[in-house]
């Protein structure tokens, strides 16, 4: 267990800033790549940036007396986000296998049957 006095020198805004940078990188991947697996991977990066934002505020509220329950709720959210991300990964990758079987490629530009 980490000692409380070890935790002084990291402000929660730093964690939040890291979360923002990772979110930007994830958006970049979703918008600029056409390989479905890489797009999916960028989604995972964005989910991780979400968990980091929750972690930043949980860390912040753990420092305020009387707000410990709120800090614990933040960690609960991270736990559930990770669980949902696992479910999402299973379904998404199954979708890509089905898509690959249908089109012979997972280039999202080629999955355009619904195009108007």
């Amino acid at each position: 267990m980490m000692n409380a006095d070890l935790l002084i020198s990291v402000p929660y805004t730093w964690v939040l800033a890291l979360s923002g940078v990772l979110l930007a990188i994830g958006i970049l991947g979703v918008l600029l790549r056409r390989n479905a697996i890489t797009i999916f991977l960028s989604l995972e990066i964005m989910l991780n940036s979400g968990t980091l934002a929750f972690a930043a505020f949980a860390m912040h509220f753990a420092a305020i007396p009387g707000m410990e329950a709120t800090a614990l709720n933040g960690q609960m959210f991270i736990f559930f986000i990770i669980a949902i991300a696992a479910a999402e990964a299973a379904v998404g990758l199954a979708l890509f296998i089905a898509l690959h079987r249908l089109k012979g490629s997972i280039d999202v530009d080629r999955a355009n049957i619904l195009r108007w």
Binding site: M1, L16, L32, R33, I37, S42, I97
Partner: protein, 165 residues
Amino acid sequence: MTALIFLTAAAIAIIFAVVAVVHRSPIMNVLALVGMFLAIAMVFAIIGMDFLAAIQVIVYSGAILVLFLFAIMLLDLRRVEGIGEGGVFQLLLGCIAVIGLGGAVVFAAARLSPETGAWVTGAEYGTAYPIGRALTGSHLFAFEFVSVVLAAAIIAAVYLARRDR
């Protein structure tokens, strides 16, 4: 010292995230993603969330990444594409969106006052004990419901990926 470790972990996470998004080979993308997940686990450990650091390593670096590698090797991707090959318009719009959205979040984070600091009063706020108490107490319904969601996801995955339909 803690700040230095945090900045190192953050730099590793950002570098690996960029490689995961930009590199042409899907295998390299996934392996870089493992590095990013481990760096984020490091951040969790630094800010005192031991339990979540362990969960991050076990679930993300363990389970989800193995799924990714399975899918990539199953799909046998011959043609790889790099970034920005979807046309100048896509590249331009993507960069505008990234600078706008990402910049807004970083700007908002920078404007928050860090004066309240990161003091942790109850030093054990991130260990398995309080989290386990909350999971089987106040969050019991959500905890049980996640198992239903996971079961539904497994059934959906098996249905989607079956061979003859």
